[in-house]
Symmetry: C2
Subunit: 455 residues, 2 copies
């Protein structure tokens, strides 16, 4: 939502070079609000505004610009100013940003950064996308395990300036290796302020929830949600502490994964940007890809119906109910597929539950298929067909709905078992399979019920 209310005023201040008021604008509001007010400015104008404030406010406001504006600024503005900005950005955010910047600019920027920051960037960039390493920030509150409460408070006072959060204070061994020993909440440290000589080892929790640096982001999000954590420490195979992943990144991951799943379920290859920011050709490609695959699959229904041409000529009224039969199977199959896919994603369903899932879906299919069958039978009788003709529909619907629920539930489970994303077993695929099998079931039931006994 473009907040255009103050745009003319902002541009006027810029034109006048009114530094006092521009500086005031940058500090008066929450940085996210300031960024919203600047949404209508061009990247160059926005950067001009930010130059009037100190580096810490500049970074904060910049971090709330949308990615497109950030990339544009980094690629077009003075490389020394940008290097100064990059040097103080949170380590995880700047790596994400540089990922989207052309490599020429990155090559130009890196030598201008302090050696420590440069090494940090190169190390974080090496982790695979969607891994803990790619999500984590390397800035966290770290305390040696033999410190007392008083020493710890002093140490935190020194560290606090550069940190994103101090909700948790991580206690590491006293060697150079930073092996993670325990965790302490800021709450626990503050409530021990009256006992300054207590050693941290007597306060800290030793049973830690951690994640490996190569763990997948969806797994991490589920862990953080299950344990209600504000941040999760990231460790390597030797339990050395490398960084933390904070709640805001977990929220972003959850939203991203949920949206990706929803898109996959509808047969859209997940978009990397928001719907409106995605280039039209990208959008067409990500949809067309699956649409064409599904279309080619659906061509098989035409061949199948052609195969049943003789039967359809004999009992012409059968064709009236084809869309009804396949849509009923498709709808019940989609329900099952979506329930199983979301259940697997949130951890409510595990692969080991497969038998219970299949049993439930069989029962659901049996009951819902019967219900639709009864309604269908009554409706067809009302359309002046004979009882034997009307009986084709309920038997077909029962079988098609059971097939739909079973295949809808089984395919995501099978995909998960094969190590593939269950959401790939999207609704259109399930529906496509049910279209084919549904027609075959319908024609077989019809032929069985309607055929006169041979001579």
């Amino acid at each position: 939502m473009l907040n255009t209310l103050y745009l003319p005023e902002l541009r006027e201040l810029l034109a006048d070079g009114n530094d006092a008021q521009l500086a005031e604008f940058c500090v008066a509001l929450h940085p996210a609000r300031t960024a919203d007010f600047m949404a209508g400015l061009t990247p160059a104008e926005a950067w001009d505004v930010l130059r009037w404030t100190d580096i810490s406010h500049r970074v904060e406001i910049f971090s709330y610009f949308d990615r497109e504006k950030q990339v544009d600024i980094v690629e077009s503005q003075d490389v020394n100013d940008i290097a100064q900005l990059i040097a103080v950005m949170p380590p995880d955010d700047r790596v994400d940003l540089l990922h989207d910047v052309t490599s020429d600019v990155v090559t130009e920027l890196l030598p201008l950064l302090p050696a420590g920051e440069r090494r940090d960037i190169l190390r974080l960039r090496a982790y695979p996308e969607e891994s803990a390493g790619a999500l984590m920030t390397t800035e966290f509150a770290k305390l040696g395990e033999h410190l007392t409460v008083e020493q710890a408070l002093k140490s935190i006072e020194q560290q606090a300036q550069g940190l994103e959060t101090i909700n948790y204070l991580y206690v590491v061994d006293d060697g150079q290796e930073d092996r993670l020993r325990g965790v302490l909440s800021a709450r626990q440290l503050l409530s021990a302020i009256g006992k300054p000589d207590t050693c941290l080892t007597n306060l800290m929790e030793r049973d830690l929830v951690t994640t490996n640096v190569f763990a997948d982001q969806e797994e991490i999000a589920n862990k953080v949600a299950h344990f209600d954590l504000a941040a999760i420490p990231v460790v390597d195979d030797d339990h050395r502490m490398l960084g933390i992943i904070t709640h805001d990144d977990v929220i972003d991951v959850m939203r991203e994964e949920a949206t990706e799943d929803a898109h996959r379920i509808a047969g859209v290859d997940p978009l990397e940007e928001s719907y409106l920011d995605t280039h039209l050709l990208t959008l067409i490609w990500k949809r067309g890809l699956w649409l064409i695959v599904l279309f080619v699959g659906a061509l098989l229904t035409a061949f199948l119906l052609q195969h049943y041409d003789k039967d359809l000529e004999m009992w012409r009224w059968l064709i009236f109910f084809i869309p009804l039969v396949i849509s009923s199977g498709g709808n019940s199959g989609n329900q099952s597929a979506t329930l199983v896919i979301t259940g697997l994603a949130t951890g409510d369903i595990h692969l080991s539950d497969w038998l219970r899932v299949i049993q439930r879906e069989l029962l659901v299919g049996l009951l819902l298929g019967s219900a639709l069958g009864v309604i269908g039978f009554i409706a067809v009788l009302g359309m002046d067909y004979s009882v034997i003709q009307a009986a084709v529909l309920p038997f077909t619907l029962l079988l098609v709905v059971i097939f739909g629920t079973l295949i809808g539930a089984a395919l995501p489970l099978i995909f998960k078992r094969l190590g593939l994303d269950p959401a790939l077993m999207s609704n259109p695929f399930v529906a496509g399979i049910i279209d084919l099998v549904g027609i075959a079931i319908y024609m077989t039931v019809a032929a069985t019920l309607l055929s006169k006994p041979g001579p």
Copy 2:
């Protein structure tokens, strides 16, 4: 996932009444892990184990039990013990729990609670479900605005025991009204520890992101995600501070809303519990409801096809392509509907963007319809039809796909405009409408192209 590894040992300890080891079991691990280990115990056994530890560990472990076990324990165990537990539970969690407990038990419990806790429960219970009031906890770190850093540290030390989190410290006016003046992070307070006489008003942020107590939970989740907050303060219309909503509740809301949307999109009335915990009859009802509505709608396709009986008799080959035509329209419509529904839910699309959305979908429909049309044309020619016969399919597909993308994008926008949940405009509905209109388009195009000029 049932962790049954230690169940025999646990049961043995219980049988022996081995209090030392049971007490050790309750404190050794993260409470969520302890709860996982107890997942296989009956509610009564689990409660027996918890009785061996102090109340603070008991509450923590209990909070990680699944809801069913919690309710069972509250309803079956000694009411005085339970009252003791309820009294120290986080205010938001206990209200959620009591919501699921039979009212008889609640009526019995309430008089046993300290007056302050009882009032707190009754007040929180009065807020509508899915509102900020129902989500918030009333325990948060509160500081008077004229305190110095030193006084604030003392005050926090006293408050810290009973608090869930002190990531943010809220600064309120010195009157009795608790009007919210500003916020301070624990980080900011700790980094000012060297300047003990500084007044909080000089440290705090004054531009606050807050939420009204009656705001909807989805809106709150979007706000917290946008501003990257660990907690958001809840205020009334007079800006009096009533509570906070923390990141873990926001993560739960996000997951719940995403799953609800996914279920609605697939035509399943959202489940209140996880798939496996939902009673089979509830599951059947929540699916059958929509399945039957859709089925009755789909009966119209039978009447429609009957209406075109003469044309279908004349050009019998037309029926082979009916499933192909309607599935292509349905798939493209589902893609559009899902993209718009998820875009509206995450705030990437606003109602004011409607014209851009419709323009994009028109273009996408035009291009994808043309692509499918070309493939269809070639396929049908390969099946030995005449050029004029084969031409029916591309024109139909173009029109049906455009109709699909437009109706798929427009319906969720219209529902949102009417104040309804856009996800109600679920894929099966979109597909149902497209089935009907698709058949009409197909038969009209066929009649136009294939009809010989009159005599």
